[in-house]
């Protein structure tokens, strides 16, 4: 009964999306007077409620492990801990797509409820575009991946969830990334709406900005969490593999970062109109490309839940319709959008445009690198593209971007002279050069980590300079947000450079009671014993690790055997200090009875994720600042309207 309720709610939501789309386009043709226009906002709101209800039903089915539902039977297991039963709801293709449409429905409902700044006509067009996008995903879900499908005969026991996914990380990683992807769909709808009504105004940018910011924060958190999760769960000691699936989340992030900055220019200076629209379309295209890569089964990875060519084709068609349609509309309308305000090259806009172009170039590089193996496969040549391509080629554009990022926020809008901020530029440049010289004299490290360290240090200081000479108590929250986010980039950059330059690795086979050293750590293998969890057994090594002459810490890396489905995983053990992490993995027993141990000492590796969190925090501060300002403006506008009404009444 529960499954049928969920399915019915989903169909109803799809019907409402269709209504929203049709009413929106009819209202757009007929003008505001149309009665249909009154239906659009309620349709969006009820749709959000229905799809949330549908998702709640699926969570319920997983919670009670209803094995007559195919999805539950093939992805859950009655013995799984409850938290993983719940998070398992979206640990599979159908459930994750339902999560996607739920977030999309909620976002649509929220704009319908609160967005009053834009002209009603633009709003109708925006909600109509949102209806088109939602309808596509409802069709995908209902026609090719119905999550509520029943089995003819209930299964005796579920097949279980991939052990790699049985981790608390799963509870957060996909939802945050989806919130990000879907937030970009809202930006896309706004861009399409603005194009349809030719209303590319600062108001449009202000309405779109919170959505882009929210999406960007979620993507940042999702990528950071995903990276840390892969780092400790996969046991390979790396934090970023340039895996196509990781790229699939990085590309929308790059586009959203560019969009965020160009929307700021549009909002405050009324420049970069077409560029902002273009980025709005590109950002969502990248989320769709990501979904296609991950969900089509074109790639083999933990993320490719279902290898099903039909679904891949479906997403590809959706991608073609949405993106092709939006680009066509863009091509038809772009030249009717008049040019915005002008600015000099040496101005804040100039710096932002430069970095926008650099971000787009990096995006192009990542996209080409990700698609290249698919392309060559068509010619029966097998290649894989990894760090030797992405790192240096990306750096060619990233380094100038960091340099401009350090000074850009110091420039004035519209027109400025570089010599006005000469002191700050000199300070930053001196720091970078000093760091370059000192590091290359003191240690022997590669060019890229060296540059990364130097620019990281310069940027870490330069990011605070915009606050100089300001009254800190009266500095807007959005400015604080920018400073914190830029500082976060610097912190993450230092972490990445330090990890790749100073990591020490040690691979050894040792007997019980023997010692291995890595960097400043001394590790003793105290013992190896079997342990058992709720749905796994493991071989666990007991290590006692000592940093220099410090206290001994106990580490317990495991090699786990899951039985439903049968699979082995490597559980790493970490010892975190302020200046880095010790990473330990236990391997097989060699024929003569010794145990394989793999140890890494990674100085300052944690800065990578602290940096990521700082970036997200900066975004959050900016979002709060923008929303508060907006609320204040609304109250003010309401009060002015009230006064005017009073005055008219008196007169």
């Amino acid at each position: 009964m529960i499954a049928e309720l969920g399915l019915a709610a989903l169909w109803l939501a799809a019907a409402l999306a269709a209504l929203q789309m049709i009413a929106g386009f009819l209202a757009l043709r007929a003008g505001n007077a149309s009665e249909l226009a009154a239906l659009i906002r309620p349709a969006a709101i009820v749709q959000g409620v229905l799809v949330t209800f549908s998702f709640a039903m699926l969570v319920w089915l997983f919670a009670i492990t209803d094995l007559s539902v195919k999805l539950v039977a093939s992805n859950s297991h009655s013995l799984k801990p409850l938290v993983f039963k719940l998070s398992g709801t979206w640990g599979n293709h159908e459930g994750s797509m339902l999560l996607w449409v739920m977030v999309m429905g909620l976002a649509g409902a929220l704009i319908a409820l609160v967005e009053r700044r834009l002209p009603e006509r633009t709003m109708n067009a925006t909600l109509a575009a949102q209806g088109v996008v939602s309808l596509g995903f409802y069709a995908f879900l209902l026609l090719s991946s119905n999550p509520f499908e029943r089995l003819p005969v209930p299964a005796a026991e579920g097949m279980g969830l991939n052990p790699l996914l049985q981790d608390i990380g799963l509870a957060f990683h996909p939802p945050t990334l989806y919130l990000g992807y879907v937030g970009l769909s809202v930006a896309f709808s706004f861009a399409v709406g603005a194009l349809l009504t030719r209303q590319v105004t600062p108001d449009f940018a202000r309405a779109m900005r919170p959505w882009v910011l929210a999406a960007w924060i979620m993507l940042t958190i999702g990528i950071t969490a995903g990276s840390y999760w892969a780092y400790y769960e996969l046991g390979w000691g790396g934090w970023w593999f340039w895996d196509p699936v990781e790229n699939a989340s990085l590309m929308p992030w790059l586009a959203a970062t560019a969009l965020l900055h160009s929307a700021s220019v549009l909002a405050s200076r009324d420049a970069l109109r077409t560029w902002t629209i273009m980025l709005g379309v590109v950002a969502f295209s990248m989320s769709m490309v990501g979904t296609f890569l991950v969900r089509s089964g074109i790639l083999t990875s933990v993320h490719a839940f279902a290898v099903d060519p039909e679904r891949g084709t479906f997403i590809l068609v959706l991608l073609g319709i949405f993106i092709g349609g939006a680009l066509l509309l863009f091509a038809l309308r772009a030249n009717t959008i008049s040019e915005g305000e002008r600015f000099a090259l040496a101005s804040r806009e100039g710096a932002l445009v430069f970095n926008n172009v650099m971000l787009s170039a990096i995006l192009a590089i990542v996209l080409l690198g990700t698609l290249y193996p698919l392309l060559t496969e068509a010619f029966d040549v097998r290649v894989s593209v990894g760090p030797p391509y992405f790192n240096p080629v990306g750096a060619i554009f990233a380094i100038p971007m960091f340099a401009v990022m350090a000074v850009g926020p110091l420039l004035r809008w519209r027109e400025d002279r570089i010599d006005r901020i000469g002191k700050e530029v000199a300070l930053t440049a001196a720091l970078v050069v000093a760091a370059l010289v000192l590091t290359s004299l003191l240690t022997e490290i590669g060019l890229l980590p060296l540059l990364g360290l130097a620019f990281g240090i310069g940027l870490a200081v330069a990011s605070w300079l915009p606050l100089r000479g300001r009254n800190l108590a009266r500095t807007p929250l959005a400015t604080w947000g920018m400073v914190v986010a830029h500082f976060g980039i610097a912190v993450a950059l230092i972490g990445m450079a330090s990890e790749s330059a100073f990591t020490k690795e040690r691979l050894a086979a040792i007997e019980q009671g023997d010692t291995a050293t890595v960097g400043p750590w001394t590790v003793v293998l105290e013992g190896v014993e079997p342990v058992a969890g709720p749905n796994w057994t493991a071989v666990q090594a007991r290590l006692s690790a000592r940093y220099g002459d410090g206290e001994a810490r106990e580490l317990t890396p495991q090699s786990r055997n899951f039985w439903a489905p049968p699979q082995q995983t490597t559980e790493s053990a970490l010892a975190t200090r302020w200046n880095g992490q010790l990473y330990a993995v236990v391997g097989d027993r060699s024929p003569d009875g010794r145990w394989q141990l793999r140890l890494w000492w990674k100085p300052f590796v944690t800065l990578i994720w602290y940096g990521g969190l700082l970036i997200a925090l900066g975004g959050l501060l900016a979002l709060i600042g923008r929303v508060l300002t907006d609320l204040r403006h609304r109250r003010l506008a309401a009060r002015i309207a009230e006064r005017r009404a009073d005055r008219e009444a008196l007169a």
Binding site: R382, S384, V385
Partner: protein
Amino acid sequence: MKPKHQRLVLVVLALVALIGAGLLAAYALRNQASYFYLPEQMLENPPEPGQAVRLGGMVEEGSLQTAADGVTLTFAVTGNDGARVPVRFSGIAPDLFVEGSGVVAEGRLGPGGTFIADNLLAKHDENYVPRELQEMEQHRAAEMAEETTVGLE
């Protein structure tokens, strides 16, 4: 600068940067992509020593040995028509890496004709098989079917 000009200049600059990025990417991809080799291809047309490539095949029965340090493995990867490439790997091998199973080794060809692997990809479980491996196994199954049906017509 006239208004029309500024927009044009911006568009041209952005296009130049993007096309530059594209060309750079195309150039770098040709050099930096790591190609996939079967053992017979590696013997016939070996890659430059030191260039990152991948080698895929079956681990030869009886060839797997652990060196005295306990962490270095040596084995041979075989392909069709008796081609055989020796491989050396230092590290923790994947769990399902055994003799007779399929493997994809990432690394480079050493000077002596030994393939030095940095990483081994083996089957994780029934559902997650490296792509090349999966196709290799299907290929092999098809061949076996062909062999067993030879002469039945």
